[in-house]
């Protein structure tokens, strides 16, 4: 009963939806029609971006209301959300995970590390940015990027 009271007292936590981003969606996203399943891949990140992604899918920013949903298997997914500079050990798994996704598929690189290795550029365990390993369709800069930026990128893909 205390949980019921808490639910009633808390009410709605989700912030109002900001205006829809106006960029053109990537060509692969045009068939998706407002439904995007997202598979997150941590290719060696420090987990800062993961916390922001977790926040983006949480109650405050609620990315799910725009049609994006996290899934466990890349076979169920349309978008691969990649964080972290790609370490040598994660290069091949990243390739295989993206290869396991059925077409049409997109890769969204989240965070400065995914774009240009960020803080870890030149490290001995780092293979290179995500674009060196798999073709990237959308980029979200920031270290870490704010949840609003992540949600905006997903909204470009879903078109909602």
């Amino acid at each position: 009963m205390s949980l019921l009271r808490k639910i009633r007292d808390t009410g709605r936590v989700a912030e109002d939806a900001p205006p829809r981003p106006t960029e053109n969606p990537p060509p692969a996203a045009q068939e998706l029609g407002g439904s995007v399943q997202v598979r997150h891949i941590d290719a060696g990140s420090c987990n800062g971006c993961e916390i922001e992604i977790g926040s983006a899918f949480g109650p405050v920013y609620d990315a799910e209301r725009y049609g994006a949903r996290l899934v466990a298997s890349p076979r169920h997914a349309d978008v691969a959300l990649v964080t972290g500079p790609v370490t040598r050990n994660m290069a091949e798994p990243l390739r295989r995970t993206v290869a396991a996704m059925p077409q049409p598929r997109l890769v969204v690189a989240v965070g400065d590390c995914a774009l240009n290795c960020g803080e870890f550029a030149g490290g001995y365990g780092v293979e290179g940015p995500v674009a060196d390993v798999v073709p990237v369709d959308l980029q979200v800069p920031g270290c870490p990027p704010r949840p609003e930026a992540i949600v905006a990128a997903l909204r470009i893909v879903t078109g909602r």
């Binding site: 068939e31 076979r75 091949e92 798994p93 295989r96 396991a100």
Partner: protein, 682 residues
């Protein structure tokens, strides 16, 4: 003039020809063009003919014909009496059909000992005994044929004794238990014959009414214990999971699909027909034994990773379901509700037929796998659907029947059995109110576990990828084996789709057992019509609806989807590296959750052996872990009995001290005691 008589004679003749062929023909015939296995082929053809004759005789009897024959000269003092009525006709037809298909299969099944003279000569005799036991009409002919069946099956079980030591152990268990059953049967039937004043079944039937309730009860208990052991009922089932895996697969099929049925036949014949029904406690005993066997059998099958042991325990489960039906029928008959009793008995008999069809098919498919890979262990099989597609498809048909789901044939008889129990509430009494829900619960649990068991057998054994080199090197079976399995699969399909054709025959069989009442099973569907209610099952409709549904869904999906071409992708391995065949779930891992749930019943034994490094006891060089799920009833029941017997034997050795004075003393005092006893009695 019915076909039953001539068919039986033809069967006997073919058996003789087959046996002689088995003894005298050479194993191979080597013309320049194509060497053939002569002995096996001729014996197989003769046995198949025998089976066909048995099927014809049984079908004629199911159609209403009756036949009897008295051969006083054949057996000294007693003579051989044979009589075929609808009840025996059903079991003869089942045995004949199974023999026919299995004999065709056996032509191609070449095992390491199966081609030997002894084995091939005995096979037609075994088949003949299976067909004739239901036709026996006197105590001595019944016992003679029963023992013939036991001895010939023992020889067949021991066929591969040169290959494995476990075959000999299985043979010993089988021989001892089947002859203990024979002793019980002998005692019971002799008591019956003595009290009734004669040994033919007609005399027994007439004289049963005059026997005291204690005598009838004793006869029933002795006889049903023997028949229950033959049918693989717990706790007398220990021979079943030993003998079936070690026997050649077509012999296992014959035993599981034709021989164990005769246990059910015996109880129906003696309990319903000869003794004319009995008090409720008889049938509660049968029902209770059936329920316990059903649940225990399928639970042990769930734990088994040896394919044939799994199938053997599944036989125990299915015969348990049959016994539940027979027990319920007896209880309803005792309460006076003949219609309900007929329904329950019909359900039990239909399950006998269905079980024979799918179990024979499953054992033959297992034999096909064994022949192709040399393995019975599910943990090491896998990937066989690519190498042996026909066998995999036929195993799927059998498994569909065994899981008792539509559109399989096992579902039809299980539905009918559930209907008879659900309507059993029409019989008043607190006993039925308690027993019937528990029986339904037992059937439901065994059905659920059977689904898990056969998903395991099919999925782990045939699907995914091979887990051993032998499985990877498997090839499809020769055409004769596929033809035999195909016959059985056709039988399963016919029983699944149009079970109503058996309707009249089953009613006549129930009536021949003394339970008149008649349920109406019409052409395609099963319709149960009792006093106020009627329920219908139309298996054909369900199968057609499913097929239509699948086609419609497939067509609609293709119409609507945009990309038609399928891509072959590598398996999703979590990115880490190619999954090896060793990573797939084995039978043991599949059954592990069930084993944990039923931990108290199964009591698995676990052994951890740690070998430390020589220099320091804190470092470990090797750890060996072993777990096995024993048959707990064997441990709790058989081991103490065997230990007691062994102890008694050891103690008795002291009687044979070696001293001549002692032996003379035994003789003298024995004689004196006998004379005193005779004086006192006179």
């Amino acid at each position: 003039m019915s076909a039953a008589g001539p068919a039986v004679v033809v069967a006997a003749g073919l058996a003789g020809v087959g046996a002689l062929a088995g003894v005298f023909l050479p194993e191979r015939w080597q013309p320049r063009l194509a060497p053939r296995r002569l002995r096996a082929s001729v014996v197989g053809v003769c046995t198949a003919g025998l089976g066909a004759a048995g099927l014809v005789a049984g079908a004629a009897a199911l159609g209403g014909a009756r036949w009897s024959a008295d051969l006083p000269g054949l057996l000294p003092l007693a003579g051989v009496h044979l009589a075929v009525d609808a009840l025996s006709g059903l079991f003869m037809a089942v045995a004949g059909a199974v023999v026919l298909a299995v004999a065709v299969y056996g032509i191609g099944y070449a095992g390491h000992g199966t081609d030997a003279r002894g084995v091939q000569a005995v096979l037609p005799v075994f088949a003949l005994s299976l067909v004739l036991v239901p036709a026996a009409a006197s105590v001595s002919s019944f016992l003679l044929l029963w023992e013939l069946m036991a001895v010939t099956s023992l020889v067949l079980v021991l066929a591969e004794h040169r290959e494995r030591a476990s075959v000999r152990e299985a043979g010993v268990w089988y021989a001892v238990m089947t002859h203990l059953g024979l002793v019980l049967l002998l005692a019971g039937l002799m008591l019956f014959a003595a009290r009734a004043g004669g040994e033919t079944f007609t005399v027994l039937r007439a004289g049963a009414g005059g026997m005291s309730p204690q005598a009838r009860g004793t006869v029933f208990v002795l006889v049903s214990a023997a028949f229950a052991s033959k049918a693989g009922m717990v706790p007398l089932h220990a021979w079943l999971p030993r003998a079936h895996p070690e026997a050649p697969s077509h012999v296992s099929a014959l035993m599981s699909a034709a021989m164990v049925n005769l246990g059910a036949y015996g109880i129906v014949r003696v309990g319903f027909d000869l003794l004319g029904g009995g008090p409720r406690w008889w049938w509660l005993m049968v029902l209770g034994g059936g329920a316990v066997s059903a649940v225990y059998g399928i639970l042990q099958a769930a734990m088994a990773s040896d394919l044939k042991r799994l199938l053997a325990y599944s036989t125990s489960e299915n015969l348990g379901l049959v016994f539940i039906g027979v027990g319920a029928a007896g209880m309803f008959a005792d309460a006076g509700n003949q219609k309900l009793a007929a329904l329950a008995l019909t359900a039990a008999l239909l399950h006998v037929v269905n079980h024979a069809a799918f179990k024979a098919l499953l054992f033959c498919a297992a034999g096909s796998v064994l022949r192709a890979t040399g393995l019975r262990d599910l943990d090491q099989l896998g990937g066989l659907r690519a190498k042996m597609p026909a066998t995999a498809g036929l195993f799927t048909v059998g498994a569909l029947g065994a899981v008792a789901l539509p559109p399989g044939n096992g579902f039809v008889s299980e539905w009918l059995l559930l209907q008879s129990l659900i309507h059993g509430f029409a019989v008043p009494g607190v006993t039925t109110a308690i027993v019937l829900p528990l029986a339904v619960a037992a059937i439901a649990l065994s059905a659920g576990l059977a689904a898990a068991v056969f998903v395991k057998a099919l999925g782990v054994g045939f699907f995914a990828r091979p887990r051993s080199d032998q499985a990877a090197a498997a090839t499809e079976s020769p055409p004769s084996m596929l033809a035999g399995m195909g016959l059985l699969a056709a039988g399963c399909a016919a029983l699944a789709l149009v079970p109503g054709v058996l309707g009249d025959g089953l009613s006549r069989a129930a009536a021949a057992a003394g339970v008149t009442g008649g349920t109406i099973l019409s052409g395609g569907s099963l319709e149960v019509r009792l006093d106020r209610i009627s329920t219908v099952l139309s298996p054909l409709w369900v199968a057609a609806a499913l097929v239509a549904g699948v086609l419609a869904v497939s067509a609609l999906t293709r119409l609507v989807s945009r990309r038609r071409r399928r891509t072959n992708a590598r398996l999703w391995d979590c990115g880490g590296g190619a999954p090896t065949a060793r990573m797939a779930y084995t039978a043991t891992s599949f059954a592990e959750p069930l084993q944990r749930v039923f931990d108290d019943v199964l009591a698995p034994e676990q052994d951890v052996d740690v070998t430390p490094v020589r220099e320091s006891a804190y470092l470990v060089e090797r750890v060996r872990f072993q777990r096995r799920v024993p048959d707990r009833i064997e441990h709790r029941l058989y081991r103490p009995v065997l230990a007691a017997l062994s102890g008694a034997g050891q103690a008795a050795r002291r009687l044979a001290g070696g001293s001549v004075h002692l032996y003379l003393g035994y003789g003298f005092f024995g004689l004196v005691a006998l004379l005193v006893a005779l004086t006192v009695i006179q």
